[in-house]
Symmetry: C3
Subunit: 415 residues, 3 copies
Amino acid sequence: MDTLVADLLAGLEEIPLIDPHSHIDPLSPVARSLEDILGYHYYTELAHSAGMSQQVLQPQVPSRERVREILRFMSHYDNTAQYRWFVEIARTFLHFPGQRVTVNDADWLYETAERVFQQLHWEAEVRQRTRLEKIFLTNEFDDPLQGFDTTVYVPCLRTDTLVFQFHQPNTRQRLAACTGIEAEDAGRVRRAFLTLMERFVNRGAKACAISLPPQFVPAPLSDAELDNALRRADSAALAPALFWLLAECCRTFQLPFDLMIGVQRRVYRHGVFQGQDLFDQRTSLIQYQELFNAFPEVLFPISVLTSNQNQELVAYSWIFPNVIVNGHWWYSNTPPYIRKDLTERITAVPKNKLIGYYSDAYKLEFVLPKYRMYRQILAEVLAAEFVRPGLLSETEAVALGRQLLYDNVRTIFRL
Amino acid sequence: MDTLVADLLAGLEEIPLIDPHSHIDPLSPVARSLEDILGYHYYTELAHSAGMSQQVLQPQVPSRERVREILRFMSHYDNTAQYRWFVEIARTFLHFPGQRVTVNDADWLYETAERVFQQLHWEAEVRQRTRLEKIFLTNEFDDPLQGFDTTVYVPCLRTDTLVFQFHQPNTRQRLAACTGIEAEDAGRVRRAFLTLMERFVNRGAKACAISLPPQFVPAPLSDAELDNALRRADSAALAPALFWLLAECCRTFQLPFDLMIGVQRRVYRHGVFQGQDLFDQRTSLIQYQELFNAFPEVLFPISVLTSNQNQELVAYSWIFPNVIVNGHWWYSNTPPYIRKDLTERITAVPKNKLIGYYSDAYKLEFVLPKYRMYRQILAEVLAAEFVRPGLLSETEAVALGRQLLYDNVRTIFRL
Amino acid sequence: MDTLVADLLAGLEEIPLIDPHSHIDPLSPVARSLEDILGYHYYTELAHSAGMSQQVLQPQVPSRERVREILRFMSHYDNTAQYRWFVEIARTFLHFPGQRVTVNDADWLYETAERVFQQLHWEAEVRQRTRLEKIFLTNEFDDPLQGFDTTVYVPCLRTDTLVFQFHQPNTRQRLAACTGIEAEDAGRVRRAFLTLMERFVNRGAKACAISLPPQFVPAPLSDAELDNALRRADSAALAPALFWLLAECCRTFQLPFDLMIGVQRRVYRHGVFQGQDLFDQRTSLIQYQELFNAFPEVLFPISVLTSNQNQELVAYSWIFPNVIVNGHWWYSNTPPYIRKDLTERITAVPKNKLIGYYSDAYKLEFVLPKYRMYRQILAEVLAAEFVRPGLLSETEAVALGRQLLYDNVRTIFRL
Ligand SMILES: [Zn+2]
Ligand SMILES: [Zn+2]
Ligand SMILES: [Zn+2]
C-alpha cells in the first residue's frame, strides 16, 4: 500500500462509528461460539455453492463438526471478501497468529472462540475496539424494544411484514396485539401504523426501513380502494398503498425511510437459510418518482442491490433533495463494486447526502472487518480523486471521509 | 500527476477545439454577470439538492443575493465535478487567486465578474483562450439564424418540438410561419420539413439533433396512417413517424442526425428550472435497429444518458457503419463515467467513429473547464491503454487524441 | 509493465491451455492463407464499420485484393484489441519484424502466410507453441465426428438448431438421418435427443452448448402440450421446452450445459457474414431461475454478452451451486470489460467455479494472442487484488491463475 493511502487509512481508522443498518439482536449482540460467525449465511452459502452438502447444516449435527466442514470448503472460497472478514475476525478478536485460515485451524478456532466470546464484558470489549458509538437495529413491528440501551442499539422499524404480509391474518393479529387496533379498514390501518411508529419513536427509533423487490411501484389508494383491497386480502394491490401510508407516517414523525431496493426473495428455493435471495437487474428508480415528488419532507436513504443501478441512485440523489445515497448493500458489498460506486457518488452527489457505509452485521464482530474493507477503499478513492490531483489536502480528505462515515449519519438520522 | 500523463495533457491542450454540441445563444454567447454562470441549473440544482430553498431563485430576489446563497450551499457540493468547473472559470477568467471558492468570496467574484465579463471583446477573448474554432448550437426550427457568424457559431436543427409537440396547434403555426406551409397532411409535413432543413443548410447548419426518452422506438407510418394520426392529434403515434421523416430529410441533405437517448423529462416536477429531468435505465439501442438498417447513408452520432448503455453504443458502433459514438452526456459527464466509457470505446470502436467530447455549454466560459476535465482523463487513458503498454509513442497518442477531439468532428460533420 | 505484473505474466504463460470453447473445424484447424485470418468477421466487420464497402468481400474478388483492402481500412481500427491480435499473429507465427501493420505490409504478409501456413505439420507447430493440450469444438448435432483426434479436438454438442429451428422440416430430417428416429411427438423427441447425446458422449464429447436470445425463458411442457406445439410447428412454444429436454439429457449423461446468453441475431441485416448480431441489454438471469432450481445435478457454465450482466452472473454463481462463470464472450471480450468482469468475479465467486477464458477461435492461430490478452489482464488483477495487498504470494497468485486457466476446466468438464 502506498504511503498516502496508508496515511489516509490511518486517519479514517480513528473515526468513531455510527453504523446505520444491521441485524444485531441487542439481547445477544456478540457471538457466543464460532458457529455464530461461520454458521451465518455469508459462509454457509459460499460453502454450499462451492460443493458442500447441506446435510451438515442440520441441527442434529454437532456444532463443531458443522464448523469444521464449512472451514474445509473455505479452501474453495478463500479468494472472496467474506473470507477476508473471517480472517480479520480471527486475528483481531481471537488473536489467531496466522495469515491464512484452513480446516487445520478448526479446533484451535473453535476452542478459542468459546473461551474468548464467553468472557464477561465481551460485548463492551468488541464495541470499544470497533469504536462503535451506536448501531441501528432491524426490528419487527411488534418487537417489545425492551432490555437494551436504545442509545447504543438504535431501534429501527422494519416494515416488510406490514407491507407484503398484511393479507395474512397472523400479521393483523400481531398488529392488534401491539397497538390495540383491529386494522380492518383504511382509517384503522392508518391509526395502527401511527400508533406503531409513535411507540418506536418514544423508544428512540431513528428510522423506518424496508426491502423492496425489483418491480415494486409505490402508489396510494383512496380509502375506498384500500378498504376493498383489505377485504379481498389482495396483497398485490395492498402493498404499494400500505407502503405509501408508512411514508405518510414517516412524514408525521420526521423519520427517514430507508429503502433497500432490488431483492427478489427465494430465487434459489433450496438454498441455505438466508442464502436463497437474488435479483432481477431490470429495475429503475423511476418507479419511485411519485413517491419522491409526493414526500419532499421525508428523507429516503436508498440502497440499491446492483452496481448497475448506482448511476440512477447518483442522479436521483443529485436532483431530488430527499433522496440520500446509503451504503453498499449485499451483492454490491465487495471491493470492486464499492470502489466503482463510491467513486461515482463522491464526484457527483453533494457530500452531505452520502451515507458512506453500514455493516448489515448479524453479530458485532463483523462490524470492524467490514468497515475496515470500506475504509481501505475510501482511502484509495480519496487519494486518487482528491489528494493526488491536488484538490484536497490529506487532512481535508480525512474530513470528507469523516463526513461520509460519521457526520452525515448524525445529521440525517437526527442523532 | 505523473510525467507521462502531464506530457500527454500538454499535447492535448494545444489542440484547437470544434465543439459539436452546445446551448450557446450566439447573440449572447458569453456571461454578462456571475449569475449567468452560477444561476445555471448545474449549480441551482446541486444547491437545491443540498438543502437550499428555491425561494432565492425567484426573479424578485436581487441577483447578488441569489449568487451568494448558491455559493453558500457550494460548501456542500465542493466535492463535485461541477464545482471544479466553477473554480476553473474563476481562476482562468476572473483570475481568482485561491484554490477554493467559498461564500466569503461572493462579493469579490460578483464584482470581478461584472467588470471582466462586460469588457469589450470579451467573447473574442474567451474564444481565443479556449482555442475554440467553432461551436455547434441548438436551434429551434423557427430560429431566424440571423445576426451571427455561422462559420463560428454553427447552426444545428433541434427537432424535439417538431417530433413531440407536433400535435400542439402552436407548433404547426410556427412551422407555417417559417416555411409558408400548412402541414396538415403527410405530403405537406414532408415538404415543410424539407423546406426547414434547406433553410438551415443554406445558413450553414451541419447537423440535425434530438433528445429522446427511454422508451422511444422510431417507426415509419404510411401516408394514410400519418394523415390519420395528424387528424387525431395523436402524439404517441405521430412522434416515431415524424422522427422517421426527419431522418429522410437528413438523408436528402446529407446531415448527420445527433441522437441523445435516454432522458425522461420532468421527473422531479418541482425541481429548479432545467433541474427536473432524469431517466429510466431500462432502455436499449435495439429500439433503433430499424432506423439504423433503413438509413445506411445517414450518420447517427449518438449520446447515451447512462454509462450502462455505453457497451450497447460501443457494440452498435462497432457493427453499424452509420452509428457514431458522440461525447459524454449530462449524467455521464463526470470523471468516473468518462474514464470508463472512453476506455471501453477507444479499445473497441474504429477510431474514426469516435467524437471525443462536446461541452453542452450554455455560456462560452464553460467550454474550457469542461474540455480540460475531458483532456485530463483522455491523457490518463491514452497513457494506460496505449503508451505504457508500448502500443503507441507519446506523439502517436496525442495524434489519436487529436483525432477524437478535432479531426473526426471535421470529417463527420463535413467542416 | 511493472516488475510484479511481468513476473506474474511469465508464470501464467507457462500454464498449458485447455480451451473450453471454439469454432475450430478439426478437419481444417489452422489457417491456409492470410484470408483465413483477415477474412474472418473480426476484421471484415470492423473494416466495414470504418467505411469499407462490402464489394471486396464478394467471392469473385481475388483473395489478395480482398486482404489488401481489409488491411487498408485497418488504419482506422488499429486502436482495437482485434488489431492487436492480428499483430501478434503476424509477429508470432509469420515473424513479421515490425510493431505496426499497415497496408504497405499486405504483400509481405500475404506471401509469408502462404508459405508458413502451408508447411507440413503447421497444425502441430501452432498447438505446440500455444501449449494447447485440448480445444473444445462447436459441433452441429449431425456432425459425423470423424477424422480427428477427439482427445485433442473435444466434441461439444451445439444445440441452437435443435431448439430454435425444430419447426423446420429440414431440421427433423437431419435428426432422423443421424438418429434413425422420426421425432414427431414428445416421446420420440426425447429418445432422439438421448440418442444424439449418447453418440456424442461415446465420441468423447464433454459439453452441450447453446446461444440464447435476451428474452429467452426455459420452461417445460407436458408431453401433450409438446405434441401440440410440434403439430403446430410453433417455434415460440417449442424452443423453451426443447431446451428443457436437452437439460434433462445433460442430467442423464452428466454433461455440463454451456449457456451463452444475450445475443440477438441479425440485427444489422446487411452486415458482413457473421457481423450482423448484436443485443438488447434488458435481460436477466432470473429468466433461468426455474432451470437452475430444477437441475441441481447439471452444471451450467454461463457466458453473458454484456458486462452489465456480469454482476448477475457473479451473484447467481455465488448462490447456485450449479451455476459456473464461463469466460469473456464476444462484445465483452475486450480489455476494459475483461478487467472489470474478472475483478468482480475473482473477489466474490468461489474460485473453483470460475472458468477463466476461452478463445472462441475459428483458426488455431487466434488462440495464443487471445489468451495472451487475457493473461496480461489476469496478471494485473492478481497483482492489484491479491499480491500487492499482501493476501497472496506471487507463487500462490500464479496458482490461482492456473486454477482459472486450467484446473477448473479439467474438473468441471471431467477431463
Ligand atoms: Zn440488511
Ligand atoms: Zn445538450
Ligand atoms: Zn462461440
